[in-house]
């Protein structure tokens, strides 16, 4: 359940930005979550509502932008898409893969007023 501390991290960013960007209410939060970021989206949604309660983002809608996992196949010498870390290359079946995308966890955008 580290999703709860991720939500606390989101709230910290929102509160820090509120001062510098001059807003008092957050209506929507867009999160980019990579398929390999180790985040359970349903747990994150649950934690989000709990953590945002009593904050300036208490009624905020959470929008999740999913980013697929990506890896470099050392056999095929090209990028391929993977859903899990233990996936094989869909073309050659090799597990000699270097993950190079889909690990990010980012607050992309906020709708504020």
């Amino acid at each position: 359940m580290h999703e709860m501390s991720l939500c606390e991290g989101i709230l910290r960013v929102i509160e820090e930005q509120a001062e510098s960007q001059n807003y008092h209410k957050v209506k929507t939060v867009w999160l980019e979550i990579g398929a390999l970021a180790g985040v359970e989206v349903e747990a994150l949604r649950f934690g989000f509502d709990v953590v945002m309660k009593d904050s300036i983002a208490r009624d905020a809608k959470l929008e999740v932008i999913h980013v697929p996992g990506q890896a470099w196949c050392m056999q095929c010498m090209k990028n391929i898409e993977i859903a899990q870390r233990f996936d094989a290359c869909p073309d050659c079946g090799s597990h000699q893969l270097q993950v190079n995308g889909g690990e990010a966890l980012q607050i992309k955008e906020l709708e504020v007023e």
Partner: protein, 254 residues
């Protein structure tokens, strides 16, 4: 009816005061809503603390290791054996993470090595900020080894960089050999997998080769060390690994 602005809501629970004014979630005095593109990493704060810890380790020539595993894999036994064996030749310290109790730190201190216990309470992992404070309380020596024993959990600690040089994943042969596939993020994040309790192999149904193959599926470069912390088998392999990872330059005494 609300007495402050006359709106229909009587529910004070979703009310906040901003700059001494009174607002509701359905704020009738609407201001313009706008979109802000911020692109901030959620783990950014933790990563900043981790970078700070890492620069302390580097300046003082400390090899910091983050030990991760399920509860009961024998992390603390591996540590107490390591500390006892290496104490004559190595300066060492330990940061112990558990949800509750100081039992593990006490077990460590019995070896004569300094240890600080962090209780995470409800938390399921250590973060770089907690480790930074623990470092202040430890009085770390230059050119030493720092073992950070994370909370027994193969999921959450994978995502939190503590500033360590390497994550060391410990798996015991009394667990399932498919754990690297069940918890791929952790075995991907680790640089070495220690297979502990190998003295029990004759009594359990654990396929070592299969386990190593699974681990390399999620992390082709992962190193594997097989040992038994209680019997001492394979411990030399682990000590050689530790010495090989220590920074070569010696930090000057402050």
């Amino acid at each position: 009816m609300c007495i402050d602005c006359g709106c229909a809501s009587a529910d004070k629970s979703n009310e906040v005061k901003i700059d001494g004014h009174h607002h509701h979630s359905h704020d009738p005095h609407t201001s313009e809503s706008r979109k802000l593109r911020i692109e901030v990493d959620i783990l950014g704060k933790n990563n900043e603390y981790a970078a700070k810890n890492r620069s302390v380790f580097s300046a003082r020539n400390i090899l910091a290791l983050n030990l991760v595993s399920s509860p009961g894999s024998g992390k603390t036994s591996l540590l107490t054996k390591t500390l006892t064996d290496l104490k004559p030749s190595h300066a060492m310290a330990v940061i112990e993470g558990d949800q509750q109790t100081a039992n593990d730190a006490e077990r460590i201190r019995e070896t004569g090595v300094a240890a600080v216990q962090i209780n995470t309470g409800k938390g399921c992992h250590l973060d770089a900020h907690m480790v930074g404070h623990a470092m202040e309380n430890l009085g770390l020596e230059n050119n030493s080894l720092l073992f950070i024993e994370n909370v027994g959990n193969l999921v959450c600690p994978a995502e939190f960089d503590l500033g360590e040089a390497h994550k060391v994943a410990i798996l015991s042969v009394t667990e399932g050999e498919d754990k690297p596939l069940k918890y791929p993020d952790m075995f991907h994040a680790a640089d070495v997998m220690i297979l502990n309790k190998v003295d029990l192999l004759p009594y359990v149904n654990f396929d070592v080769e299969k386990c190593i193959a699974y681990a390399r599926r999620v992390n082709p470069g992962i190193e594997v060390i097989q040992l038994s912390a209680t019997q001492g088998t394979g411990m030399n392999h682990w000590y050689q690994w530790l010495d090989a990872k220590r920074p070569h330059q010696q930090a000057k005494e402050a």
